[in-house]
Amino acid sequence: MGRLADKVVIVTGGTAGIGRGTAALLAAEGARVVVTGRQEAAGRDTVAAIAAQGGTAHYMRQDVTLEADWPTTIAATVKKFGRLDALVNNAGDCILKPIEDLSLDVVRAMVRINLEAAFLGVKHALPVIAKTGGGAIVNISSAAGLKGGIGGTGYSAGKGALVAFSRAAALEAREKNVRINVVHPGFVWGPGVIDAMGEEGAKRFRAACIARTPMKRVGVPEDIGAMVLYLVSDESRFVVGADVTVDGGYMAV
């Protein structure tokens, strides 16, 4: 028996990185996973990889920043799998720039993807999960939601707001037997880093991340996925409004 047997879970931004690794772990424990994101080819690849491991997953195209996409995604999930038990608000984006070079548009984009998308997810998923009889929502923030980093003013504005939002939302959701918690990953390695920085830039960034992480390594998506799995499962029934760092000790420095 898997730890998530039969639970139906939506993972946003599940086409790559932390989302993809998390979706695979949840499916391996028996969850039926809906992977959403904008990259269709990567989404289909993710669900094919899960199916090859004997898991159940389905890809749906979704732009998490568009409110109209939420009711559609959730309704399609319920139609496909019969119910919704949990949502992992994982989709996010990070642009780092010195504040004097940071445009208002970029800050708005950071708040939109890192805060507003999660707000929309909670707003639309909460009544549906409540109808199942309760469940869980996990919001993926960042160590940048708890402490500052140079060039991260826009990113931290989004992620910091997500943490505070999640605490307040957790109290409302608790009334409906839905648990909301936050995970703060540290430096986690995914293909997105090389895409954003190029081979050489990524190499330098990786060395810098390792130097700043007490455990002297970067995380892998499964490190975060293991905590999400715990927070989605019934093992964490009494865990509400918590924010948990999974960061190799970065927050303690």
Binding site: R174, A226, M227, L229, S236, G241, V244, G249, A252
Partner: protein, 216 residues
């Protein structure tokens, strides 16, 4: 699939219902458990652990795990008792005794756990079941806050030292609300997660299990 196969773990406060449940579940997950308590137990295999800062006894307790099972992989410290009293009502000697039992003695346990884990050279996990008073105040909660807060940041410092040595030793806290009934099953499951290899990127972290009390 069992998640702690082969790991040898020392559990303190083993006479309490929480730690009894923990010991059983750890064994169900494949761990070999050595139980220790602060009071004499009728069971001969239960180690007598010091309430006070008795360094030799802590060192010996951890050595016993290695003697019995040939290895040592983890330590779970039981939560402190609730001691509700106004700051102005504490006699200094009583305050010192509480601090000795629930901050200084755990420090010794952690010290010798780290030494033994490092000698073995395969990493390991230290979990302290502590209180949300590590992160908030409460009327009458000063003593619990002092030991929980001190233990929390002390463990974070120790985690950084372990990181510096890249020894794979992780230290994390589970924080519960001592004014609520202990959510035994949840604390047990969280302990298993933190002891397991699924949590190898998790150190100097807090897992709060309080039904949202700290959040609002």
């Amino acid at each position: 699939m069992a998640r702690l196969v082969g790991k040898a773990v020392l559990v303190t406060g083993s006479g309490t219902p929480l730690m009894q449940a923990l010991g059983r579940k750890l064994e169900a997950e494949g761990a070999r458990v050595v139980r220790g308590d602060f009071v004499v137990s009728p069971a001969a295999e239960v180690l007598l652990l010091p309430r006070t800062a008795d360094e030799e006894r802590w060192r010996a307790a951890i050595a016993t795990v290695v003697e019995r099972h040939g290895r040592f992989d983890g330590l779970v410290l039981a939560p402190p008792p609730v001691a509700t009293r106004a700051v102005t009502d504490w006699a200094f000697a009583d305050w010192q005794a509480f601090e000795e039992a629930h901050l200084i003695s755990p420090w010794l346990a952690i010290k010798h756990a780290i030494v033994a884990l490092r000698t073995q050279g395969k990493g390991g996990a230290i979990v302290a079941i502590s209180s949300t008073l590590a992160r908030m105040g409460r009327v009458g909660g000063a003593a619990n806050a002092a030991v929980a807060g001190g233990l929390r940041i002390m463990m974070q410092a120790a985690a950084l030292e372990c990181g510096e040595k890249a020894d794979g030793i992780r230290l994390n806290q589970i924080q519960i609300d001592l004014d609520m009934p202990i959510p035994t099953g949840n604390v047990v499951d969280a302990s298993i997660h933190l002891l397991s290899d699924a949590a190898t990127f998790m150190t100097a972290s807090d897992l709060v299990i309080d039904s949202g009390a700290l959040a609002g």
